[in-house]
Symmetry: C2
Subunit: 547 residues, 2 copies
C-alpha cells in the first residue's frame, strides 16, 4: 500500500489489525461467553468511542457487565455512547476508570447516581440528547469505533434476528459497520436457520452467546386497576375537545395512566359518540396492552412501534393486519423509523409531564437527577418547516399568504396537582435550577411552550394554538390550572372572554357530563380484563399478574 | 384457520394467494425479464397502493416501464407512491389509466406535464411531501401493498446489494416487507456471492434481472468552469460572515454553484484565514465532486451521504476514513439516516432558492409546474423542539429562563438577480398563485422566513436571527436585496442602524476585499482540475468531460 492510500484508510487498517489479533475460528464469528474478556481487551483500545446498547427497553447487559469487569490498566479513557443509562454496570464502567466521557439520551433509573458522578468529576458529559439525536450524531461527529449490541439470535455467519425488540440495533450497527468500526453482539442463542434476518451478517464482526437472555423492561404496561375518575374525566375531555374536534386520525400516545385511560374509553365513550373509524386510526406507539380493547373493537387500522413490550409477543403476532410483523410472524420495531413517523406523518402527540410553567414549558426533570427525555422532545414538537397537509394539521392553520401553514397537535395532558398535593403548574420549572447547578448550557426543558397546541386538565381544555400573544397563552393556561398558584392568580373575569374566543373550553362547553366520569367507562378494568380481551394471547409479566 | 384468525390476517393471506399464483421456481426468487408482465399482473391487483421507486437519483426504470406497458383492463385504479416523479413512464402509467392517484415528493423534470395531467383530472394528487414525509407515511397510513424497487445485484436468495446508491431502498423495503406487502426488485445482475448485503433476502419476494442497468443521474456535479466572480464573492462573505463567525463545524450544502464555490475556496481563502480544522469538518451531503479539493487538503473529517454520485465511486471507495463505506469498500448511503442527521445533528443548512419574499419565505416553484422540494424543507428548518447544544447552535441562542434555546443555522445564499435580470427578491412568491391555481391547501413554500437565520447575497449578510420583529426582519432582508424592487424601496438611512445593531454586514464589515473575488481563488477551475485533485480516481460522466 502506498502512503497516499494509507493516509485515508487508518480506520480500516486499525480494525483489521485488531480483528487479526482476535484470531476467530475460521469461517465463524461466534465466540463463547468465557472468551468475552479477550474479545473486549483485543478489540477495544484506550480512548475509543464505544456505543454500548442501552435502548429504551432492551439492554446489552452481558456486554455492559463484561466491560465494567475489564482491567482498567488495559482499558481506560473510553468515550461511551449510551442512549438509555439504565443499568448499574453503565456507571460502574466510569467508577472503575474504564470510561470517562459519556454522551447519552436518558438516565431514568440511574439519574441520581449519574448526577453525583458528574459532580465528583468521574463522568464528563458530552451532551444530553434525544434518542434520535444521539443516533444521528453517530453518522456525523460521533461514529463509534466499537459497538456493543444485543439481539435475540444469530446464525454462524453473524446474521441477526432481533425478534420484536428491534429498537435501535440496526441503526447503531449501520453507523458502526459502515465506517470501519467493530460490531460485537450478544445474543440469547445461536440458530442454524434464523426465523428472519433483521441485520445482515456482514455488518457484524463478533457474536457472543450470553449466559442469560438480555434484560427487557415492560415500560409500556399500565394496570387499568389504577385508573381513577380524574384520569377518565381528562380522557373524556381530550376525546371531545381534541380528538373529535380536530378529527385526529394519526397519533402517538406517551406513556402514562392518562393516555391509557383514553385508550380504554375509546370502545365505550368513543363508540357512543360514533367516532370509530373517524379518529385514532393510525398509531405510532409501542404495543400498549391498554390498546387491546380498542384494537379488538375495530378502532385501530395500524400500529408502528419504536420497540416491543414484554407479554405482547403472541398478541401482536396474531394481529398482523394491525402491527408491522416479519415473515416469521413477530413484530419488527424500529425506533428511528417510528420517530420519523412521529415527526412527519402523524396529526398529534399527546403525553404527560411532571411540571408545566406559566408559559407552557414543561419538563420531567426534578432536583438532583440528571435524567433526559428519550424520545418525547422529538414527538412533542411541531416540525415547523413545510409539511404535507392533513385535515387535523390544517385545522390549526394560521398566518396568511406564503406564511400560512398548519400545525401538528402537541397536547399536554395533566392533572393540576400530582399525588401528595404538589402542583403541576409552577412559576418556575425545577429544570431551570437543575440546569444551572449541573452547568448545562440551557435548562433541560422537555417540551417548549410555543410548541404546545393544547393543555388538557381535569378543569378543561386550553386551546393555546389560538392565542395571539404570549399573554393570551398565559391566560389560557391559568384558566385550566385549577387551584395551583398559577390558577389562583388568574382573574376569573377573563375566563368568559377566553371561552367566548375559543381559547378555553370547560366540560359543559364540550358536552362532557362530569358525573359519568367513573370506572364503568373503562373497557378493561384490570390486567385480567386485558388478557380476556386478547383471547388469552396477552401474557402479562409476573409483576402485573395481580388480578 | 378460525374466523378470528382470518379477521386479522387479510394482508398476509392475500399476499400468499398472489405469490402462490406466480409459481416461482422452487428455492429461487429470480424471474427472467421476459416474465415481468406475468409478475406484475399476478402480484398487483386493481386498487393496490404501489410504491414505485423513483428516488432523488436512482430509478426502477425497467419496472416503471413494465407497469406503464401493462394491460389497463387488467390493472387499473392503482395508487402510486413515487418520491421523485422523473421518468416519462411515471406519468404514462396515469395516461394509460393504470393508476389514478399519486402521492409524491418531487417532480422536477415531469413537473409541467404533471400539472397538465392534474388539470385534466387524469392524476389525483394525495399530497406533495418531502422525501422523508412520504417514507414516514408508509409506516402510518400509506403502507404499500406492493413495492417496485431497484438494486445493483442480488443473489439467488434475494439478498440485495445496492452499491453506493443505497438511497431509499432499505426504507421502502422495510415498510412493505414488514406489513405483508410484496417486494419486487429489478437488479442489474445476479451474483453467486454479493460484495455485501444491504437488504436481507427474506425481505424480498421477487427479483427480476433488468435488461439494462437502472438509470442514475449526476445531479450533484457542478462544473467549476461555470463559477464566476459573484458566486466567489458570496462564498467569501458566507465563510467570513457565517462559517467563521459562528464556528460552523457540521453542515449540509444544498445543490448549486453557490455552495460549490464555497467548497472550492475552502482550501484557498479558508486556508489563509487559518480555518482548517475549525470549521466545516463534518458533512452531510452527497459526494459532491467539488468537495474533492477540500477533502484532499485535509478539511473534511467525515461525509455521510443521502445517495451517491456517478463518477465518484472509485474516489469515495479510496477515502474510507471520510466516507461511510461497506466491507466491500464502496459507499453505503441512506437518505432517511442522512436526513435524520441533517435534522438533528448538524449546525447548519445552506442552500439557494429561486425566489425569496420580503419576509424571507422562499420557493423554487414557478408558474405552471407542480414540482415539490425533495429534501430541502427538512434540512432548511430549525427542528424547534429541545436539542443538544453545539457551539454554533448556542451562538444563536435567544429567550430567557426555561424558554432560552439555541437555533440551527438555516442560510439562504442567493444573487439579488438571476440570469436574464429576473429579481430573486419579490413581493409575492409565484408559489402563492401556483398553489391557488392547483387547488393546493397551502402555497408550496419551500423554506419559511421564520426558519431562515441568515441571507447571504453579493451585497452582504443579513442576520435575520437577530431581528426582534417581523418589521426588523423585513428591513434586514431589504438591506441586502440590492436593486430589486424590495431593495430599492429600502430606506438607506435605516441601513446604518442595522449595521450598528449587527443585523446586516457588508463586505467591508466582514474584512472581505471585493477585488479579490475572482476565479484565481478556486482550488479547481475545471472538471479536469477535480480529476487531477482526485489523483485520477474521479471519473466524470461524459457530459462533463469538456475540459
Amino acid at each position: 500500500m502506498t502512503d497516499v492510500q494509507n493516509r485515508w484508510t487508518t480506520r480500516r487498517r486499525e480494525k483489521n489489525r485488531r480483528m487479526t489479533g482476535l484470531a476467530l475460528r475460521s469461517g465463524s464469528k461466534i465466540v463463547d461467553a468465557s472468551g468475552i474478556d479477550d474479545v473486549l481487551s483485543t478489540l477495544i483500545q484506550p480512548g475509543d468511542r464505544v456505543s454500548l446498547e442501552g435502548d429504551n427497553q432492551k439492554q446489552a447487559d452481558f456486554l455492559a457487565q463484561a466491560l465494567a469487569d475489564a482491567d482498567p490498566e488495559r482499558l481506560h479513557d473510553l468515550h461511551l455512547l449510551i442512549s438509555s443509562v439504565s443499568l448499574p454496570a453503565h456507571l460502574d464502567v466510569f467508577e472503575r476508570g474504564i470510561a470517562t466521557r459519556l454522551d447519552l439520551a436518558f438516565a431514568g433509573p440511574q439519574s441520581l447516581r449519574l448526577a453525583q458522578l458528574v459532580e465528583d468529576k468521574v463522568v464528563t458529559i458530552g451532551a444530553i440528547h434525544t434518542y434520535v439525536e444521539l443516533y444521528a450524531r453517530m453518522f456525523v461527529d460521533l461514529p463509534p469505533t466499537v459497538a456493543l449490541l444485543c439481539a435475540e439470535a444469530a446464525d454462524e455467519h453473524g446474521n441477526l434476528y432481533t425478534g420484536p425488540n428491534t429498537e435501535d440495533t440496526p441503526t447503531i450497527a449501520e453507523a458502526t459497520a459502515f465506517h470501519d468500526g467493530i460490531v460485537i453482539v450478544q445474543v440469547n442463542r445461536i440458530m442454524s436457520e434464523l426465523p428472519r434476518v433483521d441485520i445482515p451478517g456482514d455488518w457484524v464482526d463478533v457474536v457472543v452467546v450470553s449466559p442469560r437472555p438480555y434484560k427487557l423492561e415492560p415500560l409500556f404496561t399500565r394496570d387499568p386497576a389504577k385508573i381513577g375518575r380524574v384520569e377518565i374525566l381528562k380522557a373524556m375531555l381530550a376525546i371531545r375537545g381534541v380528538y373529535e374536534r380536530h378529527e385526529v386520525v394519526s397519533l402517538n400516545h406517551g406513556i402514562g395512566f392518562d393516555t391509557a385511560a383514553i385508550e380504554l374509553i375509546l370502545p365505550t365513550f368513543g363508540e357512543e359518540l360514533g367516532l370509530r373509524g373517524r379518529i385514532a386510526r393510525n398509531w405510532v406507539l409501542n404495543p400498549h396492552p391498554t390498546l387491546i380493547p380498542a384494537i379488538e373493537s375495530g378502532w385501530v387500522e395500524s400500529v408502528h412501534c419504536f420497540g416491543g413490550e414484554p407479554g405482547m409477543e403472541r398478541y401482536v403476532a396474531a394481529r398482523p393486519d394491525v402491527f408491522f410483523t416479519g415473515p416469521d410472524g413477530s413484530l419488527r420495531s424500529n425506533r428511528v423509523l417510528a420517530q420519523l413517523a412521529g415527526q412527519y406523518a402523524i396529526d398529534m402527540f399527546i403525553g404527560s409531564s411532571l411540571q408545566i410553567d406559566g408559559e407552557g414549558n414543561s419538563s420531567t426533570v426534578t432536583a438532583g437527577r440528571l435524567a433526559g427525555f428519550g424520545g418525547a422532545p422529538n414527538m412533542g414538537n411541531d416540525p415547523h418547516g413545510r409539511r404535507h397537509s392533513s385535515a387535523a394539521w390544517l385545522d390549526l392553520a394560521s398566518g396568511s399568504g406564503a406564511s400560512r401553514r398548519g400545525r401538528k397537535l402537541v397536547v399536554q395532558l395533566v392533572e393540576t396537582f400530582k399525588a401528595g398535593g404538589t402542583p403541576t403548574f409552577v412559576d418556575r420549572l425545577d429544570a431551570v435550577d437543575v440546569g444551572t447547578d449541573a452547568g448545562m448550557p440551557l435548562p433541560p426543558v422537555m417540551i417548549y411552550g410555543d410548541d404546545v397546541s393544547h393543555i388538557v386538565t381535569e378543569e378543561g381544555v386550553a386551546y393555546l394554538y389560538r392565542a395571539n400573544s404570549l399573554d393570551e397563552r398565559r391566560e389560557a393556561i391559568a384558566a385550566v390550572a385549577g387551584a395551583t398558584p398559577i390558577g389562583l392568580r388568574h382573574d376569573p373575569r377573563v375566563t368568559e372572554r377566553l371561552r367566548r374566543d375559543g381559547l378555553v373550553a370547560f366540560p359543559e362547553d364540550l358536552g362532557v357530563d362530569v358525573r359519568r366520569a367513573d370506572r364503568s367507562l373503562l373497557a378493561a378494568k384490570s390486567v385480567g380484563d386485558l388478557v380476556a380481551w386478547s383471547g388469552g394471547l396477552y401474557d402479562p409479566p409476573v409483576r402485573f399478574r395481580n388480578f
